[in-house]
């Protein structure tokens, strides 16, 4: 009997204060929406999906009320079809590619339809996949994020013995700790993991490879090893005052709101998030939804240069988030050990090098600061793996097989890409598994 991680979640979690931005369709809504789909030939939505889900088919199956068939269509392409339905930036993927846009009509709500199919099928307790006939080969997966789980699921379906090692108490990686709660609650992410476990995958949590379990031992026990350990802690801004109470990293903070209720939004009058990526935008929206009166996103470059999605930024603006562009922090200010504001300075320069506008320093009052300047690269484990090639802190892999320079190791996910969507990691983890399968069969 596999471990149920949903039960390990703490009950009072800040994330439960959020309302879902895209609630589950009822049958009528789903069938009507599915009926709008044109069932395009060689559909652009399918091509836009990194996992190439047969979107027109699964939508047609919803229309004909064959939800099990629909879920199977989705999950056979993307084993994390539920998380992706919630977390994917559909606006720039499948729904962005929908031909309806070209006619000025609303794109089909593919993400919500996908959720409808998978969630209903899972609610019936259906196991869509089982373990393949045993090959006698064993693979270890380090890290239980989307890349690792996708790789594990595929390997298990192909008949290999798979064990996933996770250093945290609860698996899922960023999928269960970092996706904005109004998109995906952690219990939903963990329910999906429970279905993946049932394919016949063992997930061992609380084990850090290289610390609690020697790498040499792992190499001895397993034929191949997949590394999907993601990225490390929030990057430091490297300015004075970062250690004040009320200043923290954004990934750590989101993990807190998804895991416990240690965050008290009621005590905050003005919050600032420093960064221009999607995590920064998620954070300002989350703070606003938690009813923090004043929320400001501070970004050192222009609006146009933000790496975060425009549609998310626009929603944040509609929700009342304020923006300070071409502004960068010099120091987090505090009193009595607590944050009281940020010393900021204006910047200039576009598309090129940034420079500070001299004499433009000003103090910004706030009592909470989130640093969203990216995550550190993990290097501890990498240094223990022989011949692993690292570039800019990321593992170098073959672009198709995801094999590293050490042939026993494969890798995918954020530790290779530097940070992409859940769906990209799922796609890459699966591709790695296919290549590992070929290698394992050869070794027989």
């Amino acid at each position: 009997m596999s471990v149920s991680f949903v039960e390990k979640l703490e009950c009072p979690r800040t994330e439960l204060l959020f309302e879902e931005s895209k609630p589950l369709f009822n049958k009528d809504q789903a069938v009507s929406e599915a009926s709008r789909c044109l069932f395009c030939s060689d559909a652009p939505c399918m091509q836009a999906c990194p996992t190439h889900i047969n979107v027109p088919l699964f939508i047609r199956q919803i229309m004909t009320e064959n939800l099990n068939g629909s879920a199977k269509t989705i999950l056979s392409a993307n084993i994390m079809g539920l998380s992706c339905a919630h977390a994917c930036p559909v606006e720039v993927l499948c729904e962005g590619a929908c031909v309806m846009n070209k006619e000025g009509k609303e794109a089909i709500h593919i993400g919500r339809l996908q959720r409808y199919a998978v969630e209903n099928a899972y609610a019936k307790g259906i196991n869509f996949f089982s373990k393949g006939n045993s090959t006698g080969k064993k693979a270890a997966i380090i890290g239980s994020g989307p890349a690792g789980l996708s790789c594990a699921a595929e390997l298990a379906r192909l008949g290999h013995e798979v064990v996933v090692y996770e250093s945290r108490r609860i698996p899922g990686g960023l999928d269960s700790t970092a996706v904005a709660p109004y998109k995906l609650f952690s219990d939903a992410a963990l329910k999906e993991i429970a279905f993946i476990q049932r394919i016949g995958i063992e997930i061992k949590t609380g084990i850090t490879i290289g610390k609690d379990f020697a790498l040499s031992e792992l190499e001895k026990q397993y034929d191949l090893i997949f590394v999907g350990i993601g990225l490390g802690q929030d990057s430091l801004l490297k300015i004075p005052g970062e250690d004040l109470t009320g200043c923290m990293g954004v990934v750590e903070w989101i993990e807190n709101i998804k895991r416990n209720n240690s965050f008290n939004p009621g005590s905050i009058q003005s919050a600032a998030v420093i960064g221009g990526g999607n995590t920064a935008i998620d954070a300002v929206r989350e703070l606003k939804k938690l009813k923090v009166p004043k929320v400001t996103l501070i970004y050192r470059r222009t609006e146009r240069e933000m790496s975060g999605y425009k549609h998310e930024k626009d929603r944040a603006a509609q929700e009342g988030v304020e923006f300070l562009f071409q502004t960068t922090p010099l120091e987090i200010l505090g009193s009595g050990g607590r944050v009281t504001g940020i010393k900021l300075v204006k910047t200039k320069g576009e598309d090129g090098r940034l420079s500070v506008v001299s004499g433009s320093e000003f103090n910004f009052l706030c009592d909470f600061v989130l640093k969203a300047a990216g995550q550190e690269k993990l290097s501890g484990l990498f240094s223990q793996i022989k011949n692993l090639k690292i570039e800019n802190g990321l593992i170098k892999v073959h672009p198709e097989t995801f094999q590293t320079d050490n042939p026993k190791y494969y890798a995918a996910g954020d530790c290779v890409s530097g940070g992409e969507e859940v769906v990209n990691s799922v796609a890459d983890g699966k591709k790695a598994a296919k290549a590992m399968h070929q290698s394992l069969l050869k070794g027989k």
């Binding site: 009926s35 030939s41 652009p44 229309m63 031909v99 070209k102």
Partner: protein, 415 residues
């Protein structure tokens, strides 16, 4: 403003829209409400030998999320007493003298017909409609469609009514036959003032795939019922047209079958209908739909310069010809407007499967397809599946050749 009033064999109506005999015309309350909202007339729910109805009477066809694309029912004729019906018919006619009020009748013996033709007329009926169309329940008792399917019986029963009636008599025809012209001609020959068609089509609207019962399910069992609603309109149009273009046809037609909008109504009129009966649409949306019907018909007539309905009634009849009279030298070819194309490639899939494999994806990297003009046989399929208005059009090509029918073609081929 166009005059949309009609005179149907002497039955005057402020507009051509009548509620068809059925669930909508069961009581004075319903008919009065409908007249208040603008309906021109109503055909009272069939009065006949008292019956008992079952519970669970309707089954709906939902297509791609659209409800009641088709409707099926197993309801029988009125389940109210003669007294109640005739009293309320009298009240309605008294209050609404300018609206057309017809009474639908269904009886077995000549004596019964005689009695009730008189009672209906005494109650104020402007006309009678003989229910020879009901396809369920009553036909098993030798009435309804059992009469409509036998021209001889139809003639005999109609002749009884004509003998006793002092008001116009309409024979309601069933579509559940192989050739509508036979009962139609029988009704004309015996002297009916009009025919109403089509009645509902014998149907099973669906099977519950979990309980294995036909729907609507009456405690786990179902029966065939009468099919109506938008889905039956093409069948009704054909039958109305088949009578209208028949040589010697002169009887007035009251068109029925899936009329929901003014456009449907105009189509029936163009094929010769002199009045229009509506049921499913009002059952779905309520009596208020008549506002759109009246206004739309009037606006259409204004836009075409038709002052009365008679001016354009039957205008499409001469264009409804046999296949053998179509022009073999007529050509159309599909043309795709690349500026409008949304790249769904449905035309590619459809032409590849059901066309002549002449629409191809471009080689230059765009998803906009192109038509192989040589291979195109002008079947229209691509233009029908294309979801964008006016993106695929069928362009007429002048071969510079005269009109050539199959009959003529055969002659030249032989010689």
């Amino acid at each position: 403003m166009a005059d949309i009033s009609i005179n149907f064999a002497g039955i005057k109506s402020p507009n051509p829209f009548w509620l068809a005999s059925g669930p909508l015309t069961n009581t004075a309350y319903q008919v009065m409400k409908a007249f208040d909202l603008g309906w021109g007339g109503a055909v009272w729910k069939t009065v006949g030998i008292p019956i008992v109805n079952v519970y669970s009477r309707y089954g709906g066809l939902t297509y791609h999320g659209n409800r009641l694309v088709g409707l099926n029912n197993n309801e029988l004729i009125t389940d109210r007493s003669y007294e109640e019906n005739y009293k309320e018919i009298y009240q309605v006619k008294k209050k609404y003298p300018k609206n057309a009020l017809l009474v639908s009748l269904m009886f077995e013996t000549k004596q019964e017909w005689k009695e009730h033709v008189k009672r209906a007329i005494d109650s104020g009926a402007d006309g009678l409609e003989l229910n020879f169309g009901c396809p369920h329940g009553m036909c098993e008792r030798g009435m309804g469609s059992a009469v409509g399917q036998e021209p001889k019986v139809l003639k005999e029963v109609t002749s009884w009514v004509l003998e006793y009636s002092t008001v116009p008599v309409l024979v309601k025809l069933t579509p559940n036959i192989s050739d509508i012209r036979e009962p139609g001609m029988a009704a004309q020959e015996i002297g009916a003032h009009g025919v109403s068609l089509i009645n509902t089509i014998k149907s099973i609207i669906g099977i519950d795939v979990d309980s294995f019962s036909p729907v609507p399910s009456v405690g786990g069992k179902g029966t065939n019922g009468g099919y109506c609603g938008p889905a039956v309109k093409p069948i009704a149009l054909h039958m109305v047209g088949a009578l209208s273009r028949m040589p010697g046809w002169k009887t007035l037609i009251s068109g029925i079958g899936g009329i929901q909008t003014w456009r449907d109504a105009v189509e029936f009129i163009l094929l010769g209908a002199a009045s229009l009966q509506v049921c499913t649409a009002a059952m779905h949306y309520g009596f208020r739909i008549v506002e759109e019907l009246n206004q739309g018909l009037s606006d259409y007539m204004d836009s075409k310069g038709f002052k009365t309905i008679e001016e354009f009634r039957g205008k499409a009849v001469k264009n409804y010809v046999e296949w053998g009279d179509l022009n073999l030298n007529y050509r159309v070819k599909a043309e795709i407007n690349p500026k409008k194309c949304i790249e769904c490639q449905l035309c590619v899939a459809a032409c590849d499967a059901g066309g002549h494999q002449c629409i191809h994806t471009s080689q230059n990297g765009t998803r906009v397809p192109y038509v192989d003009q040589e291979a195109c046989i002008g079947c229209n399929l691509c233009s029908l599946v294309c979801p964008v208005e006016d993106c695929i059009t069928m362009k007429e090509i002048d071969l510079g050749k005269p009109y050539l029918t199959w009959r003529e073609y055969q002659k030249t081929a032989v010689s």
